[in-house]
């Protein structure tokens, strides 16, 4: 049951109706709905999420209970010795207890994280391993739906319990709901337990405003997915499938449109997930914030797949940067080359670790690793070369506050992303290199205007529709960049204007959407990661 199937729409309606009828058990209804949703993807996938949740729940519980036990011990010690402030033996006892509980929690955390990572590795490497061992025809690897997303969420939960940023969840089923909550299971967002579980288990009242906002957001998501992304996909897939016979100009157009397609596909799915959650009064964190308005690579990643970036920042970048060994290394470099160099080296090491792992998160493929290193290098270069850029801009007397300069930076960042797409999307790095080569060597600009583009799966009217809706998307994003959310503006209008917008969205999907018999409603690009 994909987000774009009719069954899913019917399913959502039923869930909403039941949800607001049984207010006391709303979280149970959500859990049952999520289990049903998950089951439609195959019963064999369910044990993985149960096992992962159970591992995280058990680890969190053991860690939490150990900390509680330790807290009680400290409290008892405090109560039994009023002179504790000056009592050395007492201080030592507390320190020892703390160390002991910390060490115990660390062991549990490591075990839980390893088990969870093993499950993730199984999903990512299983098929490659079978292929390598030539067993792929005999054994089937079950790839659990959304495993990259829920495993990361659960690892975050365990680490937060260990770092005492999170209260451990006593009820297994509530933690299971956090992991399996169906709007976010397919493509995220990757949320922190403390930001979601409370909302999931609270009692929510029906609110008309939520319904309107939620439906509006879902419709917008469907426009992005069905009208833009799936339409552009026809062209992009046709061109990439036969890249060897395509000119550089066509490949460049396909790559640019591929970038827009990926954004609309992914952010469309997020809008559908957030829209539904909003209807039932649950606020999911934003995963996108108009990334194509970014002026630098690091800003881009603060706007694109935000929750993945936050996850890597909190659970990889920060621990790596502040790890004792790293601190020792930075200290040594500082002595030899000064503070600035030491700081930069620390940052770069952490960045490369993060981007290497981000590449691996997408899959075990050379192109993903190259993709990670590419982004790591771009961001590292922008950090290291910032003073150089400033000097050049000064010498060339570029007005860095001008509109043109900002526009140039946005276009540059967009093309940095397009290049990363060419690295990532083709089946292997050889194909990517061949595409780069063709774009440079076989660039025939006349093919952009002589109608050649309309012979590649998407005829002229469909191209026009894709472009018109992309322009609408741009205008909406631009408005939001400048003035705030469009939906608030719409909400401030009269009912006729509001409804006209809703009908326009609805009929844009009904008429211009790519769906119907022959369409595969289960396909979202980021589902594969």
């Amino acid at each position: 049951m994909g987000f774009t199937s009719l069954v899913f729409i019917a399913f959502l309606m039923i869930v909403v109706l039941i949800y607001f009828q049984f207010k006391k058990n709303q979280w149970i209804i959500l859990l049952i709905a999520s289990l049903i949703f998950y089951l439609t993807w195959g019963v064999e996938k369910l044990p993985f999420i149960f096992l992962s949740s159970f591992v995280a729940w058990t680890a969190g519980r053991i860690i939490g209970q150990k900390y509680e036990e330790n807290d009680r011990l400290i409290a008892d010690l405090r109560n039994g010795n009023e002179e504790y402030v000056t009592d050395g033996d007492y201080k030592q006892k507390i320190s020892k207890a703390k160390k002991k509980s910390r060490s115990y929690a660390r062991t549990i955390t490591i075990i839980a994280v390893i088990v969870l990572c093993m499950l993730l590795i199984y999903a990512k490497v299983g098929e490659l391993f079978l292929e390598f061992m030539s067993l792929d025809s005999k054994v089937n690897i079950i790839v659990p739906l959304g495993i990259s997303y829920y495993i990361f969420s659960l690892i975050g939960y365990v680490l937060d319990c260990y770092w005492r940023k999170e209260e451990y969840e006593k009820n297994f089923f509530k933690l299971l709901l956090f992991a399996i909550y169906f709007p976010k299971i397919i493509q995220g967002p990757i949320l922190k337990c403390r930001n979601l579980i409370g909302q999931l288990t609270d009692v929510h009242e029906y609110k008309y405003k939520n319904l309107c906002y939620g439906v509006q957001l879902m419709l917008w998501g469907y426009v992005k997915k069905l009208v833009i992304a799936d339409r552009l996909a026809i062209f992009v897939d046709t061109v990439y499938a036969d890249y060897i016979h395509k000119s550089g100009s066509v490949l460049l157009v396909a790559s640019v449109l591929g970038a827009i397609r990926l954004y609309c596909d992914f952010s469309g799915c997020m809008d559908i997930a957030c829209g539904f959650s909003e209807i039932i009064d649950i606020k999911l964190e934003r995963n996108f914030n108009h990334p194509f308005f970014s002026e630098s690579a690091s800003e881009f990643w603060r706007r694109w797949h935000i929750t993945l970036g936050v996850w890597f920042r909190d659970y990889i970048y920060m621990p790596v940067s502040t790890a004792p060994r790293m601190m020792k290394l930075i200290g040594r470099i500082k002595k030899r080359s000064g503070m600035s160099v030491a700081k930069n080296i620390g940052t770069i090491i952490a960045l490369y670790v993060v981007w290497f792992l981000t590449g691996l998160w997408h899959g075990i493929k050379v192109s993903f690793i190259v993709w990670g290193i590419y982004w790591g290098s771009i961001i590292a270069a922008s950090v290291l070369l910032l003073p150089v850029y400033k000097r050049i801009a000064g010498k060339l007397k570029i007005n860095t506050d001008s509109h043109e300069w900002h526009l140039f930076r946005k276009i540059r960042t967009f093309f940095v992303f397009v290049i990363s797409m060419i690295i990532m999307i083709p089946e292997n790095i050889k194909v990517s290199l061949s595409i780069f080569k063709r774009i440079i060597i076989k660039f025939y600009p006349w093919e952009l205007v002589d109608g050649t583009l309309f012979d590649m799966g998407l005829n002229r009217p469909n191209f026009i529709v894709a472009i018109v809706f992309t322009i609408v998307l741009y205008l909406v994003s631009r408005y939001e960049e400048r003035y705030g959310m469009v939906r608030d503006y719409i909400a401030s209008r009269q009912i006729i204007a509001r409804w006209l917008i809703l009908y326009a969205l609805l009929f844009s999907i009904v008429i211009f959407g790519i769906y119907g018999p022959g369409y595969d409603p289960s396909s979202f690009i980021y589902m594969n990661f």
Binding site: S5, L6, Y208, W499, I511, F512, Y515, G516, P517, Y519
Partner: protein
């Protein structure tokens, strides 16, 4: 209270959306209402859906039946209202649907005639169901039809391993049948003005018959039907056939590479036939199986008719006790396969249909208790059908004197333009000359020289201009509401024939007499013809596909 207000808003929103969806569905669903060959099934089915008359006979089957039996001719000849509900590639499931629907709607046909071509259809094709399902109203029978279709394709398309996949696809197909917008929404890029104006059936007069006024008897070999006795050889571009010591050949391009010809009847179709028989018996209705003549090689056409198929049908019909008339092998309809088919023997044209209809009409009257009854609905349509038949008659006449006689017969309603190219005199016979004189021309055709030019214009039987010359001729005039310009030249270097009516060229510009016939009432050119009277064997050749469709559009009350 607030809650109630919200519900009212939600319901109102949906309430407004419903007609918008309905409108989009009407516009985006293909209406199949063009009177172009077989694209008019929408017209026929719509008419059948809204038919108020009680019909005596219902004809069902594939395009063979559709293009061979004209209910209006039967009504004209025998006074019996009938309807032809045949559709292209109509499967037995669809036939059963129409028969059930007919009785459920309170009609009481006395005979149901089925073309047995449907019994040999094995592949389930979406189009054959879509033609029907997209046009008919939603009811129990339609749901059954969709269910049967899905059941048939499930077996065909999916194996056991794909159960979940097939389930999801079949569900989407169901939705596509029930809500055509789901299937056809992507047609927005091919819409034209016809899609926005609802094509009405007010003037539909064909009662399911699809007339085709062109002739194409090429590639016909009457012996090829005995497939089992053929020896086939092939070279680079043609297949050679040897039968009874004679050699025949067929272009490879006209032959399918993987022929799927079956001699035996699919058991599912026999089951369906049994069910149809039961339905008929329950409703005191007779069932008659017929085979409309088809003259094509099984190598080139998987719906061709062979003795083997005929024998198999006879066995089944005997077993089920259903009468069967093989109109190819058992009856001589007097068909002329050079002139009575429009596509090389696959289907009958209007002339062939007249013969087949005449036979069937008589057969039905003689063998069944059918009562002649006047029917106001059919009476009202007779006038239109007569006009249609008259024009078709002109367009289908290939004998030159006979053609001129026909033009003469209707000359009061016509403008006739003639222009010769190259030479028209060499093989003009006395009979031809007499016929030319009969329509009012006075030129001395008997003494025409080689390569003389000739032009003539007749308006309502009056000669407006006429001239034979040994030079190139050009004549401009205003005839009725038309500005016309005729050119004729027999000079071998610049030989030409041109008949421009309001700036549009209609002459076929071929050797001989080029003729354009303009119908004054409709304001349409109804025939473009040429007769190569230079050649000894000269038949009138017509090129009228667009013109005939335009005229049918006119009769249907569209355009003009």
């Amino acid at each position: 209270m607030e809650y109630k207000k919200d519900w009212i808003k939600i319901l109102l929103f949906c309430f407004i959306a419903v007609p918008l969806v309905k409108m989009s569905t009407i516009v985006l669903t293909p209406n199949n209402n063009l009177p172009l060959n077989h694209n008019n099934v929408g017209l026929s089915i719509n008419e059948f859906e809204n038919l108020n008359s009680d019909i005596e006979v219902l004809f069902a089957g594939t395009s063979h039946m559709e293009s061979a039996v004209s209910p209006m001719q039967i009504y004209q000849d025998e006074g019996i209202p009938t309807y032809n509900i045949a559709t292209p590639l109509q499967s037995m499931i669809v036939t059963r649907y129409f028969i059930s629907e007919c009785f459920d709607r309170g009609m009481h046909p006395k005979v149901i005639v089925i073309d047995v071509g449907s019994l040999f259809l094995r592949d389930v094709r979406e189009a054959q169901f879509r033609y029907v399902a997209d046009t008919v109203k939603l009811d129990k029978n339609k749901l059954t039809l969709i269910y049967e279709y899905e059941k048939a394709i499930k077996d065909e398309r999916y194996d056991a391993a794909d159960i979940s996949e097939s389930g999801s696809r079949i569900f989407r197909e169901y939705i596509g049948f029930l809500f055509p917008l789901y299937k056809y929404h992507s047609r927005w890029d091919s819409l034209n003005m016809d899609d926005f104006s609802k094509q009405h059936n007010r003037y539909y007069f064909m009662q399911g018959f699809v007339g085709e006024a062109s002739m194409d008897g090429t590639q016909i070999n009457t012996d090829l039907i005995k497939w089992e006795e053929q020896v086939i050889e092939e070279n680079q571009s043609r297949y050679k056939y040897f039968y009874n010591g004679k050699e025949f050949s067929l272009e490879k391009a006209k032959i399918q590479t993987e022929p799927s010809y079956y001699f035996d009847i699919d058991t599912r179709n026999i089951e369906c036939l049994k069910e149809i028989k039961e339905i008929c018996e329950r409703n005191n209705c007779n069932l008659l199986l017929v085979k409309i003549p088809v003259m094509a090689s099984p190598k080139s056409y998987d719906s061709s008719w062979t003795m083997a198929r005929s024998t198999n049908v006879k066995m089944v019909s005997n077993e089920l006790d259903i009468p069967f008339v093989d109109m190819l092998f058992d009856v001589d309809l007097g068909l002329d396969w050079n002139h009575d088919t429009f596509d090389g023997g696959y289907h009958l044209n209007f002339a062939g249909a007249e013969k087949a209809t005449k036979f069937l009409g008589k057969y039905l009257v003689e063998n069944y208790d059918l009562v002649t009854k006047r029917n106001s609905e059919y009476d009202a349509k007779l006038e239109l059908y007569d006009k249609y038949a008259k024009i078709a008659g002109i367009e289908m006449t290939y004998d030159f004197p006979e053609y001129l006689h026909k033009l003469n017969e209707y000359s009061n309603e016509l403008e006739i333009y003639m222009s010769a190219r190259d030479d028209m005199s060499t093989s003009l016979t006395d009979e031809d000359i007499t016929a030319l004189k009969d329509i009012g021309l006075e030129s001395d055709f008997g003494n025409m020289e080689l390569w003389d030019s000739f032009i003539a214009i007749l308006d309502k039987g009056n000669v407006i201009c006429e001239g034979v010359s040994n030079r190139r001729q050009t004549y401009k005039a205003r005839v009725g509401y038309n500005d016309v310009e005729l050119k004729s030249s027999g000079d071998t270097d610049v030989s030409l024939s041109s008949i421009l009516i309001n700036g549009r060229e209609y002459s076929m510009d071929l050797r001989g007499i080029n003729i354009v016939v303009y119908d004054k009432e409709s304001g349409l050119v109804i025939d473009r013809a040429v007769c190569d009277t230079w050649s000894e064997e000269h038949e009138v050749k017509h090129d009228i596909e667009d013109e005939f469709n335009e005229y049918e559009e006119y009769l249907l009350g569209r355009g003009h």
